[in-house]
């Protein structure tokens, strides 16, 4: 059985260049669109989340290791494609061959179904592949929002010092046309870290299904096992970012 663990990221705003005023009246221009994810080069947000087997994981405990986070939703066709094509199983194997120790963690921030069903469904999904990696339960979406994870998959790589060094797409093959042979940005990033090189590019636009975050009306409705709909056997979504 394969053992590994996963995570994600964010971007920042750029200073507006000084502009000679030709007029006066500022207008509603563009929405605050494309909310950026946290900027690479910053400390990755800490978290404490529980996996599908009830084990708690914190970012802090993986200090000294490279942490890869995959925003995950087993019902999303892109996740099905990247797993079903063999790309992610191969990536997990390839990552083991690197000299740096890599922890691969999946994070599920979906809240469009009851929490216990999401946990169970993720577990069943992994069983099909005979792969064991933690799927961290982020039902209330706090960690996903802290990283500003937008898609499934949305990938984040955190270096041994806890600095976010990459966030974005898994590969350039969103439709899994190249199957397991597609080059992944994750392997490229880990190889660059291994070689002591600068990680470049450190951002590639992520593709995938929108993360199905809990909306205001849903939050708290089903997140801590106390509502009667929460995870079994103490499987809650943890306490989110620390």
């Amino acid at each position: 059985m394969f053992k590994a663990i996963v995570t994600l990221s964010i971007t920042a705003l750029v200073a507006t260049p000084a502009l000679a005023q030709i007029g006066v009246r500022p207008l509603d221009t563009t929405p605050k669109e494309d909310k950026k994810t946290v900027e690479v080069g910053e400390q990755a947000p800490a978290f404490e989340l529980v996996d599908q087997n009830g084990k708690t994981h914190t970012l802090q405990e993986y200090e000294g290791k490279i942490v890869v986070l995959e925003w995950f939703n087993e019902t999303c066709p892109y996740c099905k494609g990247t797993w079903g094509s063999g790309l992610i199983p191969k990536l997990l194997t390839d990552l083991q061959e690197h000299k740096a120790e890599v922890v691969y963690l999946a994070v599920n921030s979906s809240a469009n179904r009851p929490e216990d069903k999401i946990v169970e469904s993720g577990k069943e999904f992994l069983e099909e592949f005979e792969i064991e990696i933690p799927i961290l339960n982020d039902y209330n979406g706090k960690v996903g929002r802290a990283y500003k994870a937008r898609t499934t998959p949305h990938m984040f790589v955190i270096d041994a010092e806890g600095i976010l060094v990459y966030q974005g797409a898994l590969s350039d093959d969103s439709r899994s046309k190249e199957g397991a042979e597609a080059d992944t940005h994750i392997l490229r990033v880990v190889t660059q870290i291994d070689a002591g090189e600068e990680v470049s590019p450190s951002y590639v636009q992520p593709w995938g299904c929108p993360v199905k975050y809990a909306r205001d009306g849903d939050r708290g409705r089903n997140r801590d096992g106390k509502s009667g709909r929460g995870g079994k056997g103490g499987r809650g979504s943890g306490s989110g970012p620390k």
């Binding site: 502009l19 007029g23 509603d28 999303c76 009851p114 470049s200």
Partner: protein, 291 residues
């Protein structure tokens, strides 16, 4: 051609996704279509003559309450894409997408279509053409989303008559005219329309009374759009700064082509203009300083 791997096919296409449980009941919908959208394909000409450029028009219609995506889906989603098979000698150009709707969410805006969208794909016939008919096969690939998402794929074939000597007339039916109207116009069609790149900012200027004015960019490797800065307005004139992050190493070249759409008004029938500017690492861009 796009090939679905067997497992993926079984998981994604062959079998319907698990239904969204009654936890969040959905409104009743019409009969479910695979991929939650469907396409129709036609051309915009009566027949095709030598060297003639015409369009294959793909109309994609998502199911009620579902949407498909623009060529740049935005914060999430997947682009609508095409694979075209044409006879030898024919060439295919860049698909032209109509103005998309902006779907807003906490996680960022996405761009796409909740109703029928007609994409125009330019095709050029060879110089030497025989009388007869040719077949063009169009495979459309999309992601449709509502509360969950499904991938869709549909292949359609269209036959076009060919004439060895005469170019064919354009169809001018109402539906086609309406679809053409929804396509973005070139920026130089806008009064005073101009785009320039200075340092790490693209400036789009022009004149219009329609408000709001917005820009949506097409992300690519080495190019990332920052939130738009405040626009400068002087009567009907405007100047919109669009800050970008450029990484020529990631783009693997000295030039990055910045593309996007300038949108006026809020309705899908309001005008939009295609913006395109090349930024060169040596001539336009000096460590973020304008020249």
């Amino acid at each position: 051609m796009f090939i679905f791997l067997p497992l993926m096919a079984a998981l994604c296409v062959g079998g319907p996704l698990p239904e969204t449980p009654s936890f969040f009941p959905e409104a009743p919908e019409e009969a479910e279509r695979p991929g939650r959208a469907a396409t129709e394909v036609r051309t915009d000409v009566g027949w095709v003559g030598p060297s003639q450029t015409f369009h294959v028009v793909v109309a994609i219609t998502p199911d009620s309450q579902w949407h498909v995506y623009w060529k740049n889906p935005g914060a999430s989603g997947g682009p609508t894409e095409f694979e075209i098979r044409v006879p030898e000698g024919f060439t295919v150009g860049e698909p032209q997408f109509p103005r998309p709707s902006i779907f807003r969410s906490d996680e960022g805006n996405t761009y796409g279509y909740g109703e029928t969208a007609a994409i125009f794909i330019p095709v050029t016939a060879p110089e030497i053409l025989r009388d007869g008919t040719v077949e063009i096969e169009v495979t459309t690939l999309w992601l449709a989303c509502n509360k969950n998402c499904v991938m869709g794929e549909q292949t359609k074939t269209v036959e076009v008559s060919t004439n060895a000597t005469m170019k064919g007339p354009l169809h001018k039916d109402l539906q086609l005219s309406k679809w053409e109207e929804a396509l973005p116009k070139p920026l130089d069609g806008l009064a005073g329309g101009i785009v320039t790149a200075i340092g790490s900012t693209i400036y789009i200027s022009g004149e219009s009374q329609l408000r709001p004015i917005r820009f949506i960019g097409v992300d690519q490797k080495g190019l990332h759009f920052e939130p738009n800065s405040e626009m400068i307005i002087d009567g009907d004139s405007f100047r919109l700064p669009v800050p970008v992050k450029l990484d020529f190493t990631a783009a693997r070249g000295d030039t990055i082509v910045v593309e996007g759409l300038l949108l006026f008004g809020r309705k899908n029938t309001d005008p939009s203009y295609a913006v395109r500017v090349e930024v060169n690492s040596t001539t336009n861009y000096h460590n973020g300083e304008g020249n």
